[in-house]
Symmetry: C2
Subunit: 351 residues, 2 copies
């Protein structure tokens, strides 16, 4: 605190990102990054863009990148928006579509940035309790509200819902925007993109940070009705017109065009997740059914914090939250087979 | 407008960035970019960073880049904040330090993003009229307010104030934050950085977009008391924890370390500005005394819009605003000597 702070920030509790150790000695299974490098074509495109034209502002409208996404998804250019990671886009969307006098509704256990957004932007929220199996409480998201946010697959649970369920949500909330945060969709869930033409209140948000292995580049995108995209543009042009730099635009476009590389790393992550899930269950862990690049797991006789610290001592970082509902759970990102074997060996020592 | 927009964006008039033509046929003197390429060392650092580690999130605290800036400026690491261009930092600062019930004060003719910020963040503002010679109305900025914003040099006028004047402002406003926006400081003005240790209410904002020729990279930084820097961090972590990507952090740090390259392009821009100012005056233009990488000029017998359009037809882009006070003025960025000679030839045709 400082005497010069505005009232708004005096009371806010900001989001805390997962640790980014600088010495790189850890096996890093704590921030859901991709264990495989980015597409070589993305790196090539970045190197090509790293030239004299960096003296010029980037295209504020990101036309090349948006066209690439629009073409892949069968959308119009005007149905796509690009930003500095999906977090920035979510922050823009909370400001563009939600008003302070009506509650924004989302599941109680979900991406922990959502309640930070509602607090920071002065919005009310209703966090609805999960079903007993940690699946999303869809019925509770269908009531009257000022907007709905659903991560699909959800994080940190990894549980996905089908498109029929997303459609149920959209139909139950025709007067407010439903944000479907698909950061992890490529690891096993169905994208709601195909519903965009039928639901003008649907905003689908995706990212290059996970399945495109470009967390270090900061690129995310939203897809939806042109009216919603214009709303995001309006927010962006009220805070910072150029949030996606030239290198990020070039690199992300090349990564998205390299479909075969994308498919191959996506499949490898899924294959690793499958044996990891099985191996954890053999060690008596409860593991939620994940469609993401992480698993959410709990052990009957070892508290989450103990496991977190034991793993850290053994050089493995995972994510844990000091929250009553999930304090005995760990979110473990899916690394390479070798990294996950090291995790298993570390767990064997601890258990 | 769209039925799903929040009340906040229904009424906002966003900032409109200068045109970024995609065909690159124009001589681009409209967005104050540097006419010279970035430091070769910056490009090299970017290419080196364009590797496997892009799969990992960037350092959210930008420690290497901040250390580089802190060392150059004789500050502590905790006195430096980095963001996605100085626009993002200004947007963060308006949220971190200004409250809705007290007016933010700035000159009437200044960077046109400031009134967008106050509108968008629900703040009151008082825009104080310029002195008759277009210099900053310092006395009017000294009265009671909820905060002060001063671009030094100012844009689009190019006029700078001395450090004694900045100090006068700081002393007259001890209870509120004074933001000194130094986007153009390296082209002839004195930086207020040396006042930071004495004034806990001073926030100095700079950018890599102008004198480091890296507009395409999106890097800006703020310098001030650690309490103010913590406030900016608090806002960032409430909207998007990683706004400066790995390539931008590496490239900007290398550019800042390349002091001799920086000094050489800075000097070239100043030398060109000097003859341009003289040449425009010979064509009967009134030219304000600029300490920036642009000049603000007005012709007695040719309205601003006519000149804007005449130049555009001849392949030269400059900036013009449809505002009563300055509608007969053009803001002309300083390009290379060749580009400015082409501007002069185009003006000769028009006049």
């Amino acid at each position: 605190m400082n005497r010069y702070w505005s009232r708004r920030i005096q009371t806010i509790v900001p989001y805390i990102p997962g640790e980014q150790p600088k010495d790189r000695q850890f096996i890093k299974l704590n921030t859901n990054e991709c264990p495989y490098p980015p597409s070589p074509k993305a790196l090539e495109a970045i190197k090509k863009a790293a030239g004299d034209t960096l003296r010029l502002y980037p295209d504020p409208e990101c036309v090349e990148l948006r066209s690439t996404i629009a073409e892949r998804e069968g959308l119009d250019l005007g149905q796509v928006f690009c930003g500095n990671g999906s977090d920035e886009i979510l922050a823009f969307a909370f400001q563009a579509f939600f008003d302070s006098d009506r509650e924004v509704v989302f599941p109680k256990i979900t991406y922990s940035f959502y309640p930070v957004y509602t607090d920071f932007f002065g919005l009310k929220r209703r966090e609805v309790p999960m079903n007993p199996d940690f699946s999303d409480p869809i019925n509770l998201l269908c009531g009257r509200s000022g907007g709905v946010v659903l991560a699909n697959p959800n994080a940190p649970t990894g549980i996905a819902v089908g498109l029929d369920t997303v459609e149920q949500l959209l139909q139950a909330n025709p007067d407010v925007v439903v944000i479907v945060d698909e950061a992890y969709v490529d690891f096993g869930a169905d994208s709601a993109v195909k519903l965009i033409d039928r639901y003008p209140n649907l905003l689908v948000v995706q990212t290059a940070s996970k399945s495109r292995a470009l967390a270090g580049l900061r690129v995310g995108w939203a897809m939806g009705d042109v009216g919603l995209i214009d709303g995001l543009r309006c927010v962006r042009d009220s805070v910072n017109s150029y949030t996606v730099d030239r290198l990020a635009q070039a690199g992300a476009a090349a990564a998205i065009r390299d479909e075969s590389y994308f498919q191959s790393i996506r499949r490898r992550v899924i294959a690793t997740r499958e044996w990891v899930e099985k191996a954890l269950k053999e060690k008596d862990f409860t593991v939620l059914p994940s469609q993401a690049n992480f698993v959410f797991a709990s052990h009957p006789s070892h508290p989450g914090k103990e496991l977190l610290e034991g793993l850290r001592m053994r050089g493995v970082l995972v994510r844990w939250w000091d929250k009553p509902d999930i304090k005995d759970w760990l979110r473990i990102s899916i690394g390479t087979d070798e990294e996950m074997a090291a995790l298993m060996a570390a767990l064997d020592e601890i258990l």
